[in-house]
C-alpha cells in the first residue's frame, strides 16, 4: 500500500509539470496584460512596472524564473493584490473554502445517502416520488437562483441569518452558503444512492441473506450499503475537490474570501502568478483526492485491494 501510494505520488510529477507549462502558456496567450486599464499609462511608467515584475523578459526566461520559484514553494507576488504574495493569498483563502466545502459535503453525504436509502427501500411509493422530486428540483435549479432566494427570505425578510460573510462574526454566517452549496450535491448523492442500492438489493447475495432470515435493516446495514456506496464514493472524490477549491458563484453572492473568488479575480485581471498558483494548487489537490478515493475503494471493497 505504501509503495503503491509512493508510486502514484511520483507519477503525479510529470502531470503537474505539464499543467504548469500549459497554464503558463495559456495565461500569457490571453490578450491584454495585468496592468492594462482604461487609464493607459505613459510608456516609461509602463516600462518601469514591467521591469519591476520581470514582464519585460523573454517568455522562456520568465517561465524558468517562475518554475524555479515554484520548486521552492514560492508562487511569486500577486499582481492584483500588490501587497501580498500568491502563497499568502492561497494560504488565507483555502482554509475558508475547505471549511465551507467540508461542511457542505458532510451535509450532502449524510442527508443524500439517507434520502437515497429511504427512496430505494420504498421504491415507487409516494415517499420515493417525493424524495426523487426534491432531488430533481435540486439538480435543476442552479445555485445562483437558490442562493439569492435563500438570502431574500432568511436574511432580508426574516433577518434570521446574515446575508453575507462579513455580516456576522459567528458560525451563522456559514449556514446559508453551506446549504446553497450542499443542495445540488444532496440531490445528486440521493439519486446515486437510490439507483445503486436498488441494483444491489436485487442481486443474488442479498437474496441469500434474506433466505437466511435477515431483516431489511440488517441487510441494508451489513450487506447492501457497502457495495452500493462505490459509485457514490467515486462521485464524491472530484465533487470534494470542486467544492474545496471554492464555488465561484456562492463566494460572489455571499462575499466569501475563498479560492474561487480569488481565481476569478486573478483571471479577469490577468494576474498571471495568481491564476497559475491557484491552477497548480488545484491540480495537486485533484491528484491527491483521486489517490485518497482509490485508497478508500480498497478499504471498502477488498476485491479491489487484492488486484
Amino acid at each position: 500500500m505504501l509503495r503503491y501510494t509512493l508510486r502514484r505520488l511520483l507519477g503525479a510529477i510529470p502531470t503537474l509539470f505539464l499543467v504548469i507549462v500549459l497554464a503558463f502558456l495559456l495565461v500569457h496567450a490571453a490578450p491584454g496584460g495585468p496592468f492594462d486599464d482604461e487609464r493607459a499609462l505613459p510608456p516609461e511608467i509602463e516600462a518601469n512596472i514591467a521591469a519591476a515584475y520581470h514582464l519585460d523578459e523573454p517568455l522562456p526566461v520568465q517561465f524558468l524564473r517562475y518554475l524555479g520559484g515554484v520548486v521552492q514553494g514560492d508562487f511569486g507576488p500577486s499582481y492584483s493584490y500588490r501587497d501580498y504574495t500568491v502563497s499568502e493569498l492561497i494560504g488565507r483563502s483555502f482554509p475558508v473554502s475547505v471549511q465551507l466545502g467540508i461542511l457542505a459535503m458532510l451535509l450532502a453525504a449524510v442527508s443524500g445517502v439517507s434520502l437515497g436509502v429511504v427512496a430505494a427501500l420504498n421504491r415507487n411509493s409516494p415517499l420515493d416520488r417525493i424524495v426523487m422530486g426534491f432531488a430533481m428540483t435540486g439538480i435543476s435549479i442552479p445555485v445562483f437562483v437558490i442562493a439569492p432566494v435563500l438570502v431574500l427570505f432568511l436574511a432580508v425578510k426574516l433577518q434570521w441569518l446574515p446575508a453575507s460573510w462579513t455580516g456576522s462574526e459567528g458560525a451563522s454566517r456559514l449556514l446559508l452558503p453551506v446549504v446553497s452549496l450542499a443542495l445540488p450535491q444532496i440531490a445528486y448523492v440521493a439519486r446515486l444512492t437510490r439507483a445503486s442500492l436498488i441494483d444491489v438489493l436485487s442481486s443474488d447475495f442479498i437474496r441469500t441473506a434474506r433466505a437466511q432470515g435477515l431483516g431489511t435493516a440488517a441487510i441494508v446495514r451489513y450487506h447492501a450499503l457497502k457495495p452500493a456506496m462505490l459509485p457514490v464514493l467515486s462521485y464524491m472524490g472530484p465533487a470534494v475537490a470542486a467544492v474545496l477549491t471554492g464555488s465561484v458563484v456562492v463566494e460572489e453572492i455571499f462575499g466569501i474570501p475563498g479560492l474561487g473568488q480569488l481565481f476569478v479575480r486573478g483571471s479577469l485581471n490577468r494576474d498571471y502568478t495568481l491564476v497559475l498558483g491557484v491552477v497548480i494548487f488545484y491540480a495537486t489537490l485533484i491528484v491527491l483526492l483521486n489517490l485518497v478515493v482509490d485508497l478508500l475503494y480498497g478499504a471498502i471493497d477488498p476485491r479491489i485491494r487484492r488486484r
Binding site: 505613459p42 511608467i45 475547505v98 462574526e169 459567528g170
Partner: protein
C-alpha cells in the same frame, strides 16, 4: 466487519476538522474585540483595492480607503471643496512655479511621531522613483525633473521638492499647474514615514504596520472580504471624528450589495442595481443619492483607419443619429445626463462647450445626419458596414444594441456589435488595428477640465481614437502656459470646441454616482468628486452597535 466502520470515522474526522477550522478562522481577527456600543460604519467597495500602499495603489476603490487612512497637504470637505489638510497654509509664487506649504504643528502619525516636510519629500520621491513602479508617477509631470526621473535618467533625489525645515515644503514646477492643489489631495502624494518604511520594506502597507497620518488606521485586511479601520487618536483633527470603527466590505455583485443593505449589514452602498432602479427610487426615497460625477461614457472612432479616417462628416452623421435622451431614459435609466460635451458639467472653473447640434431636436439632427451620410457616399442601397466593439457586460450590450438600431433606422448603416472581454478591448483600442467604433469611458482624476482634455492630445497614451489635430495640441499647450485662470479657461474651451467639431468621439452620457445611505448616517453630502470621507460621517442616536 472492520471496514464498515470507516465511513462514520471519515465523516467524524471531517466534522471535527470543519469545527476546528471555524474556530481558527474566527480567532484570527480582533474584530470581535471592539467594545459593544462603539459606533461602527459599514460601507461597501465595489472591487477590492489592489494595494493600500499610497504610492503603489491605482484604483478608485483603493483611493477611497486611503482617503480614510492618510491625508495629503490639501484635502476636501464633505461637500467636495478644497481645504487645508496636513498643511495648514501655503503660498504660491507670482510666476506660479513655486508652492511653499506649511505643515501643521499638530500633525502626527498614528505612532505619535510628528509629520514632517521630509515625510512628504520622501513620499513624492518614492512616487516618481522607477523602482516603485507607481501608476500615478506621471501626475507629478510638471514638478521639476519629474519626467527625467520617471524615465530613469535622473536620481529621485533631484526631484523639485524640498524640505527647507521640519515644517516647510517647497514644490518647484516647470510650468504653471493650477490644478496642483487638487493633485495634492490624491493618495499617491501622501507622506511616507521613513522609519517605518525602512523597517518593513515592501510590507510597510500591511495592517498593523502601515502608519497613518489621517483619521483612521488600518486595523485588519481580509483579502476578498473586508478592510477594517480604527480611529487614529493621534490625528490632528481627531476631535471632529465621530465614528470609531469603519468597515469597508468588498461586494462585487450589485444585487448582493442591495440585499446586504436591506438586511441592515451595510449603511452605505457603492452603487444601486440597474434592474430595480425605479422600484428602489419609489421605495427608498431619501435614502437614494444620485449625483453628477466626473465621468463620460463615449463611443470613439478609430480615426487612423478607413472608413473613419479623414471623414469627419461621416463621423458627425453617426454622432447625430444617436438619440441620447432615449439612451439615458430607456436604457441606462439611473439618472445619467445625456452628453453633448466632452467635459462634464459642474467641473471647477469651466463651462463645457456644447456640440454644435446640441440645440436641435432629434428630428432635425436626423435630417442633417442623413444628408451628411449621403454626402459621404453611402445610402440605403450602399450602406456603411462597420464593427462596434464593446466589453462584455449587460449595460454595454443594451446600449450597443440600441445605438445599432438607431443607426440602422436613421441612416441605414449596418453596425455589427462585437463584444469582447474588457482586457481584450483595451488591447485592441490601444493597437488601433481591428477597432472601428469602440465604447470607452473616462473619469477625471481631479476637478479640472485639463484631466479630460489632456487625454485627447496627440501624444497622450489614453487617446484611444488616435485623434491628432495640431490646432488642438497648440491650444492645449497655450492653456498650459497661462497664469491667468480666466485666459486659461478660454484656451481650454476653444480646445474643446475644436475637439467636438472633429467628431473623433461621440460623448453619450455623463456618469452619476449612486448610493443608498441609511437614514441614521449623518453628514453625507453628494459631490461631483464622489468622495465620501468616513471622518465626515456620524451615526444618529438610534445607531450605536454596528448592526442597525
Amino acid at each position: 466487519m472492520k471496514t464498515i466502520r470507516l465511513l462514520p470515522v471519515v465523516l467524524a474526522t471531517l466534522a471535527g476538522a470543519a469545527v476546528m477550522l471555524n474556530a481558527c478562522s474566527n480567532g484570527g481577527t480582533d474584530r470581535e474585540s471592539s467594545p459593544t456600543g462603539t459606533p461602527v460604519l459599514n460601507r461597501a467597495l465595489s472591487t477590492e483595492p489592489e494595494s493600500l500602499d499610497p504610492q503603489k495603489s491605482r484604483s478608485v476603490q483603493a483611493a477611497d480607503v486611503l482617503r480614510d487612512i492618510g491625508e495629503g497637504l490639501v484635502t476636501y470637505t464633505a461637500a467636495g471643496d478644497l481645504v487645508p489638510g496636513t498643511a495648514d497654509s501655503w503660498e504660491i509664487a507670482e510666476d506660479g512655479l513655486s508652492y511653499t506649504f506649511r505643515i501643521r504643528a499638530d500633525a502626527h502619525w498614528s505612532n505619535g511621531d510628528p509629520v514632517t516636510a521630509a515625510n512628504f519629500v520622501h513620499g513624492l520621491r518614492r512616487l516618481v522613483d522607477p523602482a516603485t513602479a507607481a501608476f500615478y508617477a506621471a501626475e507629478l509631470g510638471n514638478v521639476v525633473n519629474a519626467e527625467a526621473i520617471v524615465a530613469g535618467e535622473m536620481d529621485p533625489a533631484e526631484l523639485g521638492v524640498a524640505a527647507t525645515d521640519e515644517r516647510t515644503l517647497v514644490i518647484s514646477l516647470v510650468r504653471p499647474t493650477p490644478y496642483l492643489l487638487s493633485l495634492l489631495t490624491h493618495p499617491s502624494t501622501f507622506p511616507v514615514h521613513r522609519g517605518s518604511f525602512e523597517q518593513h520594506g515592501a510590507q510597510f502597507a500591511r495592517a498593523g504596520k502601515l502608519l497613518s497620518n489621517g483619521a483612521y488606521v488600518l486595523a485588519d485586511w481580509e483579502p476578498g472580504a473586508i478592510i477594517e479601520l480604527h480611529r487614529n487618536t493621534h490625528y490632528w483633527n481627531d476631535a471632529e471624528t465621530s465614528i470609531d470603527v469603519v468597515r469597508h466590505h468588498v461586494v462585487t455583485q450589485e444585487m448582493a450589495e442591495f440585499n446586504r443593505y436591506r438586511a441592515d449589514e451595510l449603511h452605505v452602498t457603492s452603487t444601486v442595481p440597474p434592474e430595480n432602479f425605479e422600484q428602489i427610487r419609489a421605495e427608498y426615497g431619501d435614502q437614494l443619492h444620485v449625483a453628477p460625477t466626473l465621468g463620460v461614457y463615449y463611443y470613439g472612432f478609430n480615426v487612423t483607419r478607413p472608413p473613419f479616417a479623414d471623414n469627419p462628416e461621416l463621423r458627425q452623421a453617426l454622432s447625430m443619429a444617436i438619440d441620447r435622451e432615449v439612451l439615458v431614459e430607456a436604457i441606462t435609466g439611473r439618472g445619467e445626463a445625456p452628453a453633448y460635451s466632452w467635459v462634464p458639467p459642474g467641473i471647477h472653473n469651466y463651462d463645457p462647450v456644447q456640440l454644435p447640434y446640441a440645440g436641435l431636436s432629434q428630428t432635425e439632427r436626423n435630417a442633417i445626419a442623413q444628408s451628411l451620410y449621403k454626402k459621404a457616399g453611402y445610402g440605403r442601397d450602399n450602406p456603411l458596414r462597420f464593427e462596434l466593439r464593446y466589453n462584455t457586460s449587460d449595460t454595454q450590450q443594451r446600449i450597443a444594441l440600441a445605438v445599432q438600431a438607431m443607426w440602422r433606422k436613421v441612416l441605414g448603416a449596418e453596425a455589427m456589435a462585437v463584444n469582447v472581454e474588457f482586457q481584450v478591448l483595451l488591447d485592441q483600442m490601444r493597437n488601433r488595428e481591428v477597432t472601428e467604433v469602440f465604447r470607452s469611458s473616462w473619469f477625471g482624476d481631479y476637478n479640472d477640465a485639463n484631466t479630460f482634455l489632456a487625454i485627447m492630445e496627440s501624444d497622450s497614451v489614453a487617446n484611444m481614437p488616435g485623434y491628432s489635430n495640431p490646432e488642438y495640441d497648440a491650444l492645449m499647450q497655450s492653456a498650459g502656459e497661462q497664469l491667468d485662470l480666466d485666459r486659461r479657461r478660454l484656451y481650454l474651451e476653444e480646445a474643446e470646441r475644436v475637439l467636438l467639431a472633429d467628431h473623433a468621439v461621440i460623448p453619450l452620457y455623463f456618469y452619476v454616482s449612486k448610493h443608498l445611505v441609511k437614514p441614521e448616517v449623518e453628514g453625507w453630502q453628494d459631490n461631483i468628486l464622489n468622495y465620501h470621507y468616513s471622518q465626515h460621517l456620524s451615526l444618529g442616536a438610534a445607531e450605536r452597535d454596528g448592526r442597525p
